[in-house]
């Protein structure tokens, strides 16, 4: 499904290897600046000047067009710094770009209601995206990723701006998506609890290198945490 071979990007990523298959939920952990977001952006086709290989569905992403990649991978960014000037439904329609081409004809009008329902945001359908709360926005961003109908979904710290209650609800929604088994999820997060709830395995990054793959429980073990995050935790560094 997804095979990454000796992926290097500038000086940020150094020879990353791993494979994942459909239905899996993979967590990516690492200290700030370890290359987690860069890794996701390379897979999402946002950064294209990498060396090494990213294979999706048996095709190397370097030879795929932006639109072809967008039919395979969707991406939920960490922070949305821009004001999105659309209503929720207009915003979801933008997710269909990979299937439309530059011409404005819709090949097939998808049923956004079912994904909106699934993410619990059907009532927000006609609201302006700019008027949504942080929790609502995060759900709408994931809805947009699902509306893109890709086998691979990338999530970059999706709960970092949510309060504990909203984060908990959000994680449960992700868990139900995972149980459908239709997607491969890659999620960057710093939260050990949600990683244990969701992930099948964890990829540890540090300084742009892969430090290994672990079971999620590993995140609660202080000795193993220091392997990834270094010994600086707790102010002894």
């Amino acid at each position: 499904m997804l095979t990454i071979r000796q992926l290097c990007y500038q000086h940020i990523l150094k020879s990353i290897d791993f494979t994942a298959k459909s239905g899996e939920f993979i967590g990516i952990v690492g200290p700030n600046g370890s290359g987690k977001t860069t890794l996701l952006k390379c897979v999402a086709g946002i950064l294209r000047g990498f060396s090494g290989g990213i294979e999706m569905d048996g095709q190397g992403s370097a030879v795929l067009s932006s639109r072809q990649i967008a039919r395979l991978v969707s991406y939920v960014p960490q922070i949305v710094e821009t004001v999105i000037p659309f209503t929720v439904i207009e915003f979801l329609r933008l997710s269909r770009f990979p299937y439309q081409g530059m011409t404005t004809r819709q090949v097939r009008v998808p049923d956004f209601d079912s994904v909106l329902q699934q993410m619990g945001v059907l009532h927000l359908k006609h609201r302006q995206v700019a008027s949504l709360s942080g929790g609502e926005l995060q759900r709408v961003l994931v809805t947009a990723a699902l509306a893109q109908e890709t086998p691979i979904v990338l999530l970059d710290e999706p709960t970092s701006h949510l309060d504990p209650l909203r984060a908990g609800e959000f994680v449960e929604t992700l868990a139900s998506l995972k149980n459908e088994g239709r997607h491969l999820f890659l999620m960057v997060s710093h939260n050990a609890e949600e990683m244990t709830r969701l992930c099948d395995r964890i990829v540890g990054l540090s300084g742009g290198e892969k430090k290994g793959e672990f079971a999620p429980e590993f995140l609660f073990d202080p000795a193993s945490r220091s392997l990834i995050y270094g010994n600086g935790e707790g102010g002894h560094g």
Binding site: A44, S65, Q68, I84, M102
Partner: protein, 321 residues
């Protein structure tokens, strides 16, 4: 809804096309006379058509640059195209044909505009990813470069040439004729068609480079295509109109506010028609208020546009808290 929308536009355009009959001096009842007919068909009609097309191109250029660079202050001149055109005009007025007639000025203005656009693009599109900030800053630099050359030329030029330069820099639809109507008309139709075709990409651009790319937009190529198209269309119009300000920045904002949408398939036609109407009306006002003296169109659009723009800025800052 759609019918009302289109019929509303049609009525406004029709009314605007009737303006030459009444302004600056009414020709109603005098059309049996050849001179009046000549004034209407050979002078006023080409003027109003050129204004309609040029205003549309400027507003369409502003709309697409504001989306492309995610910058509400972007105008079709942001990348230095107006100072490039002015540079071309100044080169002709001062160095090539000092003190002579200005018939070839549009050719040089067009060449200068293309030069500035190519200069900006050649410096920014070398890398794989081009940030909007880089392109905008390159535009600022090119603007300053040409502006300084223009100031230098004015310093060394003769008095009459300085007057000609100043007059050109004010912007105005001076020598309108069949050629300006056909060329600006082609630029208008070409740009409208292209922008309608590119509308989904413009919508994605407003989300920012990362979100646009993850939805399958080849951001670099898209920027290159839009900048090239807008530059070509604006270069054609600016050759005939000079650097008329404020239509390109204000009209897209007005239309966005009025229509309450960011969907470019709807914004593009409305903005381009509104830009044309604004320029045609401003040009008519400029010809009428001090008749027989003509106030340059660029002065009228700025007089109307600047206060509006200040109001817009104050509104914007309250929105940002």
């Amino acid at each position: 809804m759609r019918l009302r929308y289109f019929s509303g536009i049609a009525v406004l355009v029709a009314l605007t096309l009737l303006l030459p009959l009444f302004f600056p001096v009414s020709l109603v009842g005098r059309l049996s006379d050849t001179i009046s007919r000549h004034i209407l068909w050979e002078i006023r009609l080409p003027l109003i058509l050129t204004a309609l097309f040029a205003g549309g191109v400027l507003a369409g250029g502003g709309l697409s640059f504001q989306a492309l660079f995610r910058n509400p202050l972007a105008t079709p001149y942001t990348l230095g195209i107006s100072s490039g055109a002015a540079f071309g005009a100044v080169v002709f007025i001062v160095f090539i044909h000092p003190g002579g007639s200005g018939a070839a000025v549009p050719v040089f203005a067009f060449a200068g505009a293309l030069c500035s656009a190519m200069l900006v693009m050649s410096f920014t599109f070398r890398k794989r990813m081009v940030s909007s900030e880089t392109i905008l800053l390159a535009g600022v630099a090119v603007n300053f470069l040409f502006a300084s050359v223009i100031m230098f030329s004015q310093y060394v030029a003769a008095q009459y040439e300085v007057f000609q330069i100043t007059r050109w820099l004010l912007g105005g639809i001076g020598g309108a004729g069949p050629l300006s109507v056909v060329l600006t008309g082609l630029a208008f139709i070409g740009l409208m068609t292209a922008l309608l075709w590119l509308a989904p990409g413009l919508n994605l651009s407003t989300l920012g480079d990362d979100m646009a790319a993850s939805r399958g937009l080849d951001v670099r190529r898209f920027k290159l295509v839009v900048i090239t198209l807008v530059s070509a269309a604006v270069a054609i119009t600016i050759a005939f109109t000079g650097p008329i300000g404020f239509v390109g920045i204000v009209v897209p904002h007005m239309v966005r506010l009025k229509m309450g949408t960011a969907e470019h398939r709807r914004l593009v036609p409305m903005t381009m028609v509104a830009g044309g109407l604004m320029l045609a009306v401003c040009d008519t006002i400029g010809r009428t208020v001090l008749f027989p003296v003509t106030v340059p169109t660029g002065v009228v659009t700025a007089l109307i546009g600047a206060p509006f723009f200040l109001w817009l800025l104050s509104r914007r800052s309250t929105l940002e808290r």
